[in-house]
Subunit: 318 residues, 2 copies
């Protein structure tokens, strides 16, 4: 037996997109988001999901995404920082181009049941329909990536065979997308499965770039990340303070907290390039902005390195 | 790279001891505890920590432990079920003998600072002092085991070198104890460390029996359990509903929830012999008895296998 894992990873901060998109309380203002984004860049993040170009009435928290991108143009953003947005289709590309967003991401559900219910199409058929968006992105010089939600299971399916996930990956590759996120919005992934899926897709499509996105719905997100790292994966999403729920189980935990992930990686000697003290401060700001605590651990318990009690001096025996 | 792990594990339920020992609310009655114990045996647990023989004024939740053991004698307990109690010293053995408890466990902190502060002795000196208790246990036909708390780090120490942990293990072995629990009450363990420590002690002391006890203080308990399983460990503690706090960080999470652990193991195809549906029902009773929710996930989110939405039928194209 061995315990090998990658020693350098990239973390994408998704708190401003998947984290807050379903928050029912205070809408984060452009100023709030700019404050957090500047803090993230200062903390060392190189990949940040800024928001999404969905219908503003359907997702009010994301309605000011265009304005956030425009506001960020006032600041000096290092060339190696990627500010990503989720888009539903070609209209999302148009909005991205108009506001200066240079990297977009499409999404499809791996669940046949989920996709049939929403769109009356198989997942691979939906991805084939993304060709127009991909062409528009590329002709405008935008980078474009894709994600596959419920890649590890869904409430609609007894099981999602790896071959079905591979069909979706191949559909993405057929329209020219090779940067792909395998996402567990339903919180059903478990470590041995993650290891097996990641090993399989890395072997089958060695030139693709991969992201893993885990929710901590059943307490397994960090175990899943480590299983992914044991399979050689090196890009993971996290959400400040753990904000973001499980869409299928009201009240259950959602996104894994970025500061919990980085705390574990710091302890394991894995390089992230991100200063977790700064992430923790940003998570506290996020909690203030959304008006309630989320499910992260380190915000409550502190980092192990910060837990220090004075060492007593041994007294002489009497 | 590989993802190998043991495929059969034993779970010890510690909710009635480490779980509730610091609960400040309702004291669990003998009847409450007997109800949970009988439920645990019915669910398939083979190892259960019933309570402790500490000073009743210092730990009121444990004051009725003797009565619980006596009350359990009214029931048919299978021979392969071990009802364990924590003891501080030889007086604990005397109480165990008097009430029919057949398996006891000693504990020492691996933290030099912690042990000096409490007892003005090194951990190994404390363990050497257990000889009287071990002799009393063995001469009365009791099994006796030992645990080492803070084996992975403590708030008092920058680091706890593995050689210090090995000295404590050897002190236990010198007094005749070879069943040893490596415990993380401070919630500072992390997966690569767990793998390394477990690999090292299994190699150095191949005839010992090991338990691992993790708190979920920083969200890493299940990742640590899996790392332990990857190092060949096969005995782990869990606490119904996750009851039990972190003694050093008020408000932080404590013991890992047994039902969360078994849910993960079930998904990974690991045999526990325990029916998690029954564990979940017991956790709900525990929450009723203590009067507040604990930090477990599956009680809120449900098991993945129970999350089923109806699969829609594909509609013909128009």
């Amino acid at each position: 037996m061995a315990f090998d894992y990658v020693k350098k990873v990239r973390i994408c901060e998704v708190g401003l997109r998947d984290g807050i998109q379903n928050e029912k309380g205070a809408i984060l203002t452009v100023e709030d988001k700019v404050e957090l984004l500047r803090g993230m860049i200062d903390a060392g993040y190189k990949v940040i999901e800024v928001g999404s170009f969905m219908h503003p009435v359907k997702v009010p928290q994301m309605a000011n995404t265009d304005e956030v991108y425009k506001a960020m143009q006032a600041y000096d953003i290092p060339d190696d920082v990627e500010l990503r947005a989720l888009i539903p289709n070609k209209r999302g590309v148009d909005r991205a181009v108009a506001c200066g967003c240079k990297k977009v991401k499409l999404n499809v559900s791996a669940s046949l049941g989920h996709n049939l219910a929403n769109l009356n199409r198989t997942p691979a058929e939906s991805v084939a329909g993304f060709a127009e968006a991909v062409d528009a992105a590329k002709s405008n010089g935008l980078e474009i990536s894709g994600s596959i939600s419920m890649a590890y299971g869904s409430p609609w399916d007894d099981d999602i065979p790896i071959d079905e996930v591979k069909k979706i990956i191949e559909a993405y590759m057929a329209v020219g997308i090779t940067e792909i996120s395998l996402s567990d919005a339903s919180g059903m992934a478990y470590p041995s499965q993650v290891y097996n899926i990641c090993t399989e897709v890395r072997k089958a499509y060695p030139d693709n770039t991969w992201w893993l996105h885990f929710h901590n719905t059943r307490g397994l997100a960090i175990a899943n990340i480590i299983a992914g790292m044991q399979a050689g994966m090196n890009q993971f999403d996290g959400s400040l303070s753990g904000v973001g729920g499980c869409p299928f189980v009201p009240g259950a935990a959602g996104n894994v907290a970025t500061e919990d992930v980085i705390h574990c990686l710091d302890e394991m000697g894995v390089e992230t390039g991100i200063d977790n003290d700064k992430v923790i401060a940003l998570s506290r700001r996020m909690v203030e902005m959304i008006g309630h605590a989320a499910d992260g651990y380190v915000l409550k318990a502190g980092q192990s390195k910060d837990l220090k009690l004075p060492l007593p001096v041994r007294q002489p025996k009497k």
